[in-house]
Symmetry: C2
Subunit: 129 residues, 2 copies
DNA sequence: AACGATTTGACAATCGTTCTCATTAGTGTT
DNA sequence: AACACTAATGAGAACGATTGTCAAATCGTT
C-alpha cells in the first residue's frame, strides 16, 4: 500500500537515530540534523518520525511534559523504558509481570482494546553531578 | 504562603469533580460548568485544576493524545488507573508489586529522583456497544 | 464600609505538532 | 538518458491544549 521512498531526508533521520543515545524529541533531532549540515525541514522530520514509529522501526513515548520522544529501538518486542530526564539516556526494560498484571486488571473489569503506558523517568548517575 | 480563597468558581470546579465519574479534560469540565449555567472562564478552570492537582486534591494524568485529564481522587495514597477512552470511567488500581519493581529497576541503574507513569487505557463494557 | 491582596476573565501568546499546497525528486518504464 | 507518475518535501499557516497578561471584580479581614 504505502510504498516508502528512500529519500535523502528519510535516510538522514534514520541515521541520527542510530547515532543518538536514548530518547529525543523531534525538535532536538531536527536541530541535530541541521547542525550536521543536513538540509531538512522540521515537518519532514516529524513526518518521518511518525511513519517510522508506525512501522515500529522506532520507539515513541511521551515525557512528563507531553512531548513525544523517539528512539531507535533495538529489540522488536514490546518493552518499557527507564529514561533520564536530562540527557535522554535510556535503559530498556522488560516487565512481563507488569504486562500480565495490566492485562488481567483490564479484562477483569471488562475493558477491551487495551493499551498501557509504563515508563520510568529519573536522573541518571552522570547527570546528577 | 499561598492562601486559597474560597471563590464561587473554585467551589464550582470542585463541585463538578464530585459529580463527574472518571477522568475528564479541563475543557470538558469547563463546558460542563457552562452548561450547568455557571459563569466561569476557561483560564480559571485550568488554574484551579492545576492548583488542586498541586495540592493533591485531584488526580491528573495524561492520555494517549497528550491531554491532561483530571479526577477527584478518593484515596490519598499513590495509585494508578484503568481509564475508558470514551467515557472517562475509571477504575482505581493498586500495584504495589509494579511500584517496587519500578523502584528497584531505577536504583539498580543509579537513577535518582524517579517518577513513573503507569496507566491503562481501554474501552469499557458500556462503550463497546 | 473600606482596604489590600488574590482571583478572575477575555484575549493574546506559546509550544508542540499537523496541515496545505506548490515544488522537488524517487522509481519504474521506454 | 529522458519520461511520467506519484510520493515526499519545505515554508509557513493552522491547530489544539495550555499558560501568560493585566485591568477589573471579589474575598476575607479590619
Amino acid at each position: 500500500m504505502a510504498e516508502q521512498r528512500n529519500t535523502r531526508q528519510r535516510r538522514a533521520v534514520k541515521g541520527v537515530l542510530d547515532q543518538l543515545e536514548g530518547f529525543h524529541s523531534a525538535q532536538e533531532i531536527h536541530e541535530f540534523l541541521r547542525d550536521s549540515g543536513e538540509q531538512i525541514g522540521l515537518s519532514t522530520v516529524y513526518r518521518n518520525l511518525v511513519s517510522l514509529a508506525d512501522a515500529n522501526e522506532v520507539d515513541a513515548l511521551r515525557n512528563d511534559e507531553g512531548e513525544t520522544l523517539y528512539r531507535r529501538c533495538s529489540s522488536g518486542h514490546h518493552h518499557h523504558h527507564l529514561v533520564c530526564r536530562t540527557c535522554g539516556k535510556t535503559v530498556e526494560v522488560d516487565g512481563p509481570a507488569a504486562e500480565q498484571w495490566a492485562e488481567s486488571i483490564a479484562s477483569a473489569h471488562g475493558f477491551k482494546n487495551v493499551s498501557h503506558t509504563f515508563e520510568i523517568f529519573g536522573t541518571c548517575e552522570q547527570c546528577q553531578r
